[in-house]
């Protein structure tokens, strides 16, 4: 210890906060070491300077001026009514209220959490539903191209799964009605489309089908639907059917009966 520098311990030494042994050791070292002596002197000077420094205190005048300003401010703010101190016997009620409030907060935050969770689940469900609809649409469109008439009918019947079928589905059904070689498929496609007669596409498809269709069952079904929605454009193809030799007699009678209502 005697030969080691004690620079680190100087502040404590000067402060007198070290134990006697260490104090003695440091004294002995300081006697021999000019470097540490120098350091001690400087530190001593610094501490003295700290102690002799005067802390400025606000004057009495400043204080009174502040008080005045505060009073003026209070006066301008209007009267502050102190809350009546709660009496001791109401303390239990307030703590119950506090507990109730914290429980309410807990419940509310839990509810919020579950609401958000539910929202998220709903979103995911909606997304799933969308994906499900997409899958159904794909299945429907591919079934409608199947070689088997029964499968094509199954594809057409899938229309019931869609609340608002989009244009591609309507178009695929129209394609079946106009071009399918199987009469049963065409008739099923007609029945599926007849639920969407508000669509211009569907009306036009029906008129086109009436010009093309050879199966009397489908002809009569189309005629009835077009008359029901009072589609004036249907009059022309109906007249053509009347003139055709191979049109079945009951179709001609049907047309004769309904034509006046369209013209």
């Amino acid at each position: 210890m005697e030969n080691e520098h004690v620079l680190d311990l100087i502040p404590e030494y000067l402060d007198g906060s070290l134990d006697k042994e260490t104090m003695k050791d440091i004294q002995r070292h300081l006697e021999k070491c000019p470097q540490c002596q120098q350091e001690t002197k400087e530190m001593e000077a610094l501490l003295k300077a700290f102690k002799s420094d005067v802390v400025p205190v606000p004057s009495e005048r400043l204080r009174s001026r502040f008080e005045e300003a505060l009073e003026a401010e209070k006066a301008s703010m209007g009267k502050v009514v102190p809350l009546p101190l709660e009496k001791k016997n109401r303390n239990w009620a307030s703590s119950v209220l506090k507990i109730a409030a914290s429980i309410a907060l807990l419940v509310a935050s839990f509810q919020m959490g579950s609401v958000f969770q539910q929202k998220k689940i709903n979103q995911e469900l909606a997304q799933l539903k969308d994906e499900n609809l997409d899958m159904k649409q794909t299945a429907m469109l591919s079934l409608m191209e199947n070689q088997s008439a029964s499968k094509r009918i199954q594809g057409v019947a899938y229309i019931d799964e869609f609340e608002n079928p989009d244009e591609s589905i309507i178009q695929a059904l129209a394609n079946r009605l106009l071009n399918d070689e199987n009469d049963n498929v065409r008739l099923t496609a007609f029945e599926a489309l007849s639920k969407y007669t508000s669509s211009e596409t569907v009306k036009n498809v029906f008129i086109e089908a009436l010009e093309k269709e050879k199966n009397p069952s489908i002809q009569v079904a189309i005629i009835q639907t077009l008359v029901q929605i009072q589609e004036k454009k249907a009059a022309e193809p109906m007249k053509k059917l009347l003139e055709k030799e191979d049109t079945q007699p009951f179709i001609k009678e049907q047309i004769k009966a309904v034509l006046p209502s369209l013209t």
Binding site: Q147, S150, K151, Q154, N182, L187, P216, S217
Partner: protein, 250 residues
Amino acid sequence: MRKFTIILAALFASAVAQAQADYTKSLSGIQWVKIESKANVIVKTHNSNELLIKSGPSVETPERAKGLKLVGEGGTDNTDVGFSVIQDGSTLIVYNLRKTGDAEIYLPKNQNVSVKSTWNGDIEIDGFAGEIEADAQLNGSVKVTNVNGPVTANTLNGELAVTFGTVKQDSPISLYSTNGAVDVSLPSNTPANLSLSTLNGNVYTDFDIKAAEKNGMRTLLGRNIKSTINGGGVSFSMKSTNGNMYLRKK
């Protein structure tokens, strides 16, 4: 000279036998057999995986046509039994070129079969477990018996009669006629979603059909009856525009 005559006679006999032989063709790789005919067609099942067209006495060629080929809308007779058989991908197209007489065709039980009669021919199909499509476009009738699979059938003026064994549930059944009656027999325990519709005909059935009630009124007289039997199942649609409909328990 006498020997020569015998040989000649033998040759002639074998030639005749050749002409009278049934026609067969393997069906490996074939998914659908499509038959088209103006005359009556009877389609039955047999146990080998091939198409067999019987040449009955009714399909004898006239004496004058010797050495000549039968031709028609569907092509040229390439079977020697009055049929044109053409493979198109996985479909075998079988045209009956004759306009008279009964054609008898045998196919394996699980074959998917489509039969079309374009004139007066009646169609009879018996015993299949695959899919059946039958279309009598003019005056022919359709009679389908002992089938399990989906049936899609349509007639214009002829009667449409179908007798089912166990009804497969995977694909819809659709039986339509314009002017003919539609007559269907089902096992009484068949689950199905029925749709019976007619414009001018009547519906008769011994199934317990509960018509949807509208404001407390039963709409039995309605044009479209929708009902489930045995808890509901495969979509089963029957329609005749002008004919009656009969739905029977088997």
